[in-house]
Symmetry: C2
Subunit: 201 residues, 2 copies
C-alpha cells in the first residue's frame, strides 16, 4: 500500500509507450533516440530503462500489444454469418479499429524491418492469423457462389492493403467522417469481390 514519494511507474510506463509510439510513427524507429523519448515524457534517458530492457524490446512491445488488441477486438466480431454479411462486418471493424489507432497501425506496418528475427516471427504470425480470418470469409463466399474471386490469397492481400491504406491519408476532422469512409470502402470491397454480380463472371 505504502509507496515512495515520486513513484509513478503505473503512470510513467504508459507515457513512455505513448511517447515512443508517437515519435516512432512520425520519424521512424531508427531515427528516434531514447533521449528524445525521455524528453517527451519529462524524465532523463536513464529512467527509461526502468520500463524497458532496451530499445528493441520497447518497439516489440508496442507492436505486440497492438496486435494483441487487434486479435482480441476482432474475436468479438461475428464472422460466422453469410459471407457477404461477414465481409461487411470485417471491413467495418477493420476501418473503425484502424482509424482509432492511426499511429499504432502505422508503426506496426512500417517497423517490421526493425524487429529482430525472433520478434518479427511473433508479429508476423499474428498478422497471418488476422489475415486468415478475411481469407476464410472469401473462401466461404466463393464456395457458396456469392463471391467472384479468382484467388483468395491475392484478394485478401489486395483488400487488406486497400483498407489499411486509409491510415496514410485520413486525418481527423477532414472532409469525410468515419461513417462516410466505412460506407464507401465497404461499397468498393463488396463490388471488388463481385458480391452483387457473382453470376455474371
Amino acid at each position: 500500500m505504502a509507496r515512495k514519494t515520486g513513484s509513478h511507474s503505473d503512470i510513467t510506463g504508459p507515457r513512455v509507450r505513448s511517447a515512443a509510439r508517437s515519435l516512432i510513427a512520425r520519424h521512424g524507429f531508427a531515427a528516434v533516440t531514447m533521449r528524445q523519448i525521455a524528453r517527451e515524457v519529462g524524465v532523463q534517458a536513464g529512467a527509461l530503462y526502468l520500463y524497458t530492457p532496451d530499445k528493441q524490446t520497447l518497439l516489440f512491445d508496442l507492436m505486440k500489444s497492438h496486435m494483441d488488441e487487434l486479435l482480441e477486438a476482432v474475436s468479438s466480431v461475428d464472422l460466422s454469418g453469410p459471407p457477404e454479411r461477414a465481409l461487411e462486418a470485417f471491413a467495418r471493424f477493420h476501418i473503425a479499429f484502424h482509424l482509432d489507432r492511426a499511429e499504432a497501425v502505422f508503426v506496426a506496418y512500417m517497423e517490421l524491418r526493425n524487429l529482430t528475427e525472433d520478434n518479427f516471427a511473433v508479429i508476423e504470425d499474428q498478422r497471418k492469423t488476422y489475415e486468415n480470418l478475411l481469407e476464410r470469409i472469401l473462401q466461404r463466399g466463393r464456395a457458396s457462389g456469392v463471391f467472384a474471386v479468382h484467388d483468395t490469397k491475392l484478394a485478401t492481400m489486395a483488400l487488406i492493403a486497400m483498407l489499411t491504406g486509409l491510415t496514410t491519408w485520413y486525418r481527423e476532422g477532414g472532409r469525410l467522417d468515419r461513417g462516410d469512409i466505412q460506407d464507401m470502402y465497404w461499397d468498393m470491397v463488396r463490388k471488388a469481390v463481385g458480391a452483387d454480380a457473382a453470376l455474371s463472371a
Copy 2:
C-alpha cells in the same frame, strides 16, 4: 579518352545508388549507415562523398529519379480512350512498373518521413501528379455513367493502395506470374469501380 588508373566514377556512382537503394529498402534509411553502403560497394566510407554531398541528398536523388522515371513511363501510356480502357491501361502499367522496381517503390513509399521539408515537397508534388492521372480517369468514367464511384478522391487512394500493396508480398518466382497478377488485380479494380454494373447502383 585518357583516363587515370582507378577512375570509375561512371561505374561506382550507379553502384553506390544501387547499394543504397537495396540497403534502405531492407533496413530503412535511418538504420543504414554510410559505412554499410561503402562496404557493399567495396570502397571506403569517405569515397561516397565523391558521389553525393550527403546522406539526405542520396535518399532524395533515389526517390526523385524513381518518380521521374514513373512519370516519364506513364506519359507514354494512352489514357485518353474510354474510361474503362484507360483504367485498365493505368492498372496494368502500374502493376508492371512496380513489379519491376520493388525496392525503389518500397523506398519511395516508406522513406517520405525522412526527407527534409523541401525535398518532401518535391516528391509529394510528383506523387500527386501521378495520382491525379488516375483520379481524372475515375472522374471521366463517373461523368459518363460507366463507373459507380461515390468519391473519386477516396477511390483513387483506395485503388493506389491496393495496387501498390502488391510490392509487399510479391516475390519473384512465386506461385503467381506477372500476367496472372495483372489480370486478377485488373478484375478487382474493374469491379471495385462498378465498371460492369454501374447502372445497378
